[in-house]
Symmetry: C2
Subunit: 145 residues, 2 copies
DNA sequence: ATAATATAGGATATAATTGTCTTTTATTTG
DNA sequence: CAAATAAAAGACAATTATATCCTATATTAT
């Protein structure tokens, strides 16, 4: 409703990779898709995007798979994943779809949207993969169903 | 980015109808589409939905068109338009696309999303068509471009 | 009543998103 | 080096959202 399906899968996949990397495990896209309950081939495409954007790391061949460095778990924020997959229209776009909508020439909802979007932006820019993975690790949150 | 295109057009159309009803003018969907810069036939469909949901009122035949009663301008909130067109997934759906995501079995983003969505909901439920139309009337806001 | 006008409705077209399938490329292990 | 494994890449298919077109229906004014 806010993110595309691709972006939803991308976030869930990245969080799962983070969770497993905490245990030093590389994971295949087959495993990822199974564990986050997403379509395999489609998820593979999204993982490619995340890899190209240096959000996660991929290794080919046997013993290969996806992983993320310990320091990147803190560095990578949700905003980076959203930007890589959905672009930045979530920040810049007008809530009512006007091509140019700004303080000089605002749509009727401009100011009210600005507040909400600023909150959303702050949330996305301050939430790291590590933070999300730790909630999962202790069984407080879930990635499927 | 948050609403469907149909919903964006729907809100803009409803605000324009409100603006014109303040001057006792009924407006055709041709005029509406022109003034909010939207595709005519598609906009007509959306106006049908708004009419069926008793958000605006339509009159057939010559001198006909769309209008909204003075009291409805205050009564109708944005939330009603959004619900009529996009349903309530904006309130109930999980930010990461999980089928069931709630306090008992939350996704990793559940709590953070809840805050933002509550703000969005409050905004939509408290903003009336009248409020939006008056901003337009005095030239502070715009419905196209 | 008839002609004109405006919304309502149905069928269809186009575009974007989501999803699948097959082949290729890189890497590791025996 | 050969075989096996796993991601990368490209072509294709299905679904949903967006948009158009044509006809029907209701209403008004002459």
């Amino acid at each position: 409703m806010m993110f595309s399906k691709a972006c939803e899968y991308g976030i869930r996949a990245a969080v799962y990779v983070t969770l497993q990397s905490l245990e030093e495990r590389r994971v295949s896209f087959n495993e990822i898709a199974k564990e986050i309950d997403s379509p395999i081939a489609f998820t593979a495409k999204i993982l490619q995007q995340l890899t190209r954007n240096n959000i996660i790391h991929s290794v080919k061949g046997p013993t290969g798979g996806f992983e993320i460095e310990r320091e990147d778990m803190d560095m990578v924020k949700l905003s980076m994943i959203v930007k890589a997959i959905d672009g930045d229209k979530i920040y810049t776009g007008c809530g009512l779809g006007l091509k140019e909508c700004n303080a000089q020439k605002p749509c009727p909802l401009h100011d009210k949207f600005l507040d909400i979007r600023t909150d959303l932006r702050n949330m996305l820019e301050s939430t790291s993969l590590f933070e999300l993975a730790t909630g999962l690790e202790v069984g407080l949150t879930y990635l499927k169903r």
